[in-house]
């Protein structure tokens, strides 16, 4: 009798322990929720349908940009400038489609820093002076052009702000761009070509590194720090933080008691900030849903039993996009002229940020690691 009840007791205890483990997901032998979902196939789909083709498209756009740039430099005029703007816009839009893949090869190359520096999430508009957010360091650019001997690999803010899109959109479309080019053609053209060449070499490196990186990306289905899934979910949150901060919120004055910083809009001189923001979030939604392939993060969430959260996220994506599209370019003017529309978008951005930075990481067991937020 005693033996039987003891055995029964152990059975209950073991069952309870087993149950407790299974709840935490991925414990010792417990069935993992979402086990039927093929995470590796999801990652392969991302690599093959969005990431690798995305960088290939960026390389193509850069080639087109070089052609248009050469034409502009050979004969600077409003007409060649207008053609150049189309090529520039197409390239920058394509960059927005790969911006959220800032991990693995892109992170090793520090692509985002060197081609589209956002200034960092912690760099306060109120206290940190002029070079914050999506700025251009025109002083350093002009100095580089005049003095030569610049090092575009330097790891400083001045360096990040004087190359990539911040430099190109200033050099192509900034104040008196054509007159300045005519005034100092040799050195200015040299600088533009050096900036373009560096951009190309970085994009080429990321694109070619993905060939080797793909296998480890696809096979690592863990969700811990530095894992592909962990990185992707961190990037959802990071891109939303960029939207709430440097892209929209900070220029709008959200960090400066309402003082507008119009010149700190992304690609300010090209005047395409809203087009870029819309493309960034359209792409982010496409990444989240896996482009409707059935192999997206949204499907993963559903497999984890989080369909209702998934519905909230996709609906909020749509709402944010609707509100963003209601803000006309150039954003630098809309910050003042369409303040109500910007405010309305900002509200919805915050909600999507919460979903992607808190609820989705919690549902997937991913830790958000990019924040300097340890409270000390």
């Amino acid at each position: 009798m005693k033996k039987i009840s003891l055995a029964a007791f152990f059975a209950v205890v073991l069952a309870t322990v087993f149950f407790a483990c299974s709840k935490s997901g991925g414990g010792d032998g417990g069935p993992e929720p979402g086990q039927g979902f093929d995470k590796s196939a999801m990652l392969a789909s991302y690599a093959d349908n969005l990431i690798i083709p995305g960088y290939a498209a960026l390389q193509q756009q850069l080639a087109g940009l070089k052609t248009a740039s050469d034409a502009f430099l050979a004969a600077p005029s409003p007409a060649t400038q207008a053609t150049l703007k189309q090529a520039y816009t197409a390239t920058h839009l394509q960059y927005e489609r790969v911006a959220a893949f800032q991990f693995g090869p892109a992170e090793s190359a520090l692509l985002d820093l060197f081609v589209n520096f956002s200034g960092g999430l912690d760099y306060n508009f109120n206290t940190s002076g002029e070079l914050t957010g999506f700025s251009t360091d025109s002083v350093t650019i002009e100095q580089n052009i005049t003095a030569g001997g610049y090092n575009l690999a330097a790891m400083t803010r001045a360096s990040f702000y004087s190359q990539g899109f911040p430099a190109l959109n200033y050099l192509y479309f900034g104040p008196n761009a054509i007159a300045r080019l005519n005034a100092n053609p040799v050195k200015r053209k040299q600088y533009i070509n050096d900036v373009l060449a560096r951009f190309k070499s970085l994009a080429d490196k990321v694109a070619s590194d993905w060939t080797g990186y793909r296998a480890s990306f696809v096979s690592n289905t863990k969700t811990d720090v530095g894992s592909p899934i962990g990185n992707m979910i961190n990037q959802f949150a990071y891109q939303m933080d960029l939207l709430k901060g440097p892209r929209i919120g900070w220029p709008f004055g959200k960090q400066s008691n309402g003082t507008v910083f119009a010149s700190k809009c992304e690609a300010y001189f090209a005047g395409i900030s809203m087009a870029l923001a819309v493309e960034n979030i359209t792409s982010l939604k496409k990444i989240y849903t896996g482009g409707g392939s059935g192999k997206g993060m949204s499907n993963y969430l559903a497999a984890l039993g989080k369909q209702s959260l998934n519905n909230d996220v996709t609906a909020q994506f749509d709402l944010v996009l609707e509100k963003l599209k209601a803000i006309p370019d150039p954003l630098s003017a809309s910050l003042v002229n369409n303040a109500a529309a910007v405010e309305a978008a900002y509200k919805e951005i915050q909600k999507l940020l919460t979903l992607l930075k808190t609820d989705v990481p919690s549902a997937t067991g991913v830790q958000i690691t990019f924040m300097d937020n340890d409270g000390d």
């Binding site: 007791f9 152990f10 205890v13 073991l14 309870t16 322990v17 407790a20 800032q102 992170e107 520090l110 692509l111 985002d112 820093l113 520096f117 200034g119 960092g120 999430l121 912690d122 760099y123 306060n124 109120n126 206290t127 940190s128 690999a153 330097a154 790891m155 400083t156 803010r157 990040f160 811990d224 720090v225 990071y238 830790q367 690691t369 990019f370 300097d372 340890d374 409270g375 000390d376």
Partner: protein, 362 residues
């Protein structure tokens, strides 16, 4: 539920042991007897007030030094106050029980003058001057600021993270190592020491790894206790260290020196790994593209890393970290931070990451 299982297994094991030894009745019997491992550190005679007081002293001193970080403008600090808090002289603490405790931070800190000089350096560079390579002063960090020296070291972090090593971890190593040398019959002495070490972990008696403790919770984990969750989740530091403290403490009462010693080793091994995991995080975070170009974030992280690497100096003698690798880590993290952060590919920091990862299986 897991603890219940352990308890019943213990009882079962204990009962059989007891039965086996019951014939041996000459003199006091210090053979292993049944004991239960509770789920909380509520042992009848548990007392670790002094450890807790020393934790609270460092928390108050750290809080005082951090006043300088508030806002964008200069907040002057009082050097006499810092010295008094370190030595517990002149009733410096807001918590009056600390003032009358008869204890202080200095008396149990290794390299006390060294760590004290870190605290003093916060005041030295808290001048309202903007920092730059070679110039100490403030660096903006979000809406606030940090105070750094000419090489970018945030002395407040070197101080508090260094003290976590030079006082609390070092004491835990010393105490638990000494317990391992004690006889089974010396239960009271061993329990007292065990409690003292537990107090330096600074978690509540009913610590719960699944709980998020708000900053306002007076019973929240502090210093190392806070880092169990902040940097130790991936290595399950909280559950393992707390569980081992419970089991080892119970084992002492049951004269079970084998289990006691095993738990002491588990605690020290995991505690050291926690310091390494924190150090790894802080020499990695500043190399991320989301942090690069942001000195407030980067220098702060490296300064925490410097403190946690300094903690490893006080590691147990059986540590996996060789003297040569510790020296390599120390040499890197004691370089000029502006130099470390300007290296293409962050060669030195990557070397440090590799040493920490391979040594500690992180």
């Amino acid at each position: 539920m897991k603890h219940n299982l352990i308890i019943y297994v213990m009882i079962a094991a204990g009962v059989s042991t007891f039965a086996a030894c019951s014939n041996d009745n000459d003199g006091p019997d210090y053979s292993v007897k049944p004991y239960t491992v509770p789920a909380t550190y509520n042992f009848n005679n548990a007392s670790y007030t002094v450890s807790t007081q020393r934790v609270k002293m460092a928390i108050e001193l750290d809080g005082y030094l951090k006043l300088a970080n508030a806002g964008a403008t200069l907040v002057p600090l009082d050097q006499a106050k810092v010295t008094n808090m370190f030595n517990n002289t002149g009733n410096p603490f807001a918590d009056a029980s600390l003032n009358t405790s008869g204890k202080n931070l200095r008396e149990v800190t290794s390299d006390a003058d060294h760590f004290k000089s870190y605290a003093d350096s916060v005041l030295l560079y808290n001048t309202g001057t903007a920092a730059a390579p070679g110039v100490g002063g403030f660096v903006p960090r979000g809406a606030n600021k940090i105070i750094v020296g000419p090489r970018g070291l945030e002395y407040g972090q070197s101080f508090v993270k260094g003290m976590m090593g030079g006082l609390y971890f070092k004491e835990a190593v010393r105490i638990l190592t000494s317990v391992k040398g004690m006889a089974a019959k010396d239960t009271t002495g061993a329990q007292k020491l065990w409690d003292e070490a537990f107090g330096y972990l600074a978690v509540p008696a009913d610590y719960d790894t699944s709980k998020t403790y708000p900053n306002t919770d007076p019973n929240r984990p502090l210093l190392w206790g806070g880092y169990l969750a902040e940097r130790g989740k991936a290595i399950k530091a909280g559950g393992i260290i707390f569980g081992a403290f419970l089991k080892g403490r119970a084992a002492i009462g049951g004269y079970d020196t084998k289990v006691r010693d095993e738990q002491a080793d588990i605690i020290l091994d995991k505690w050291e790994q926690l310091a390494a995991a924190a150090a790894l995080n802080y020499v990695t975070a500043p190399t991320a593209s989301s942090a690069i170009g942001n000195y407030g974030t980067q220098l702060h992280a490296l300064s925490e890393g410097q403190g946690f690497i300094a903690s490893l100096k006080y590691r147990p003698t059986n540590s996996k970290l060789t003297a040569a690798n510790y020296a390599a880590l120390a040499a890197i993290i004691n370089k000029d931070f502006y130099v470390l952060l300007s290296q293409p590919g962050f060669t030195d920091l990557v070397t440090a990451q590799t040493i920490l990862k391979t040594t500690y299986g992180l």
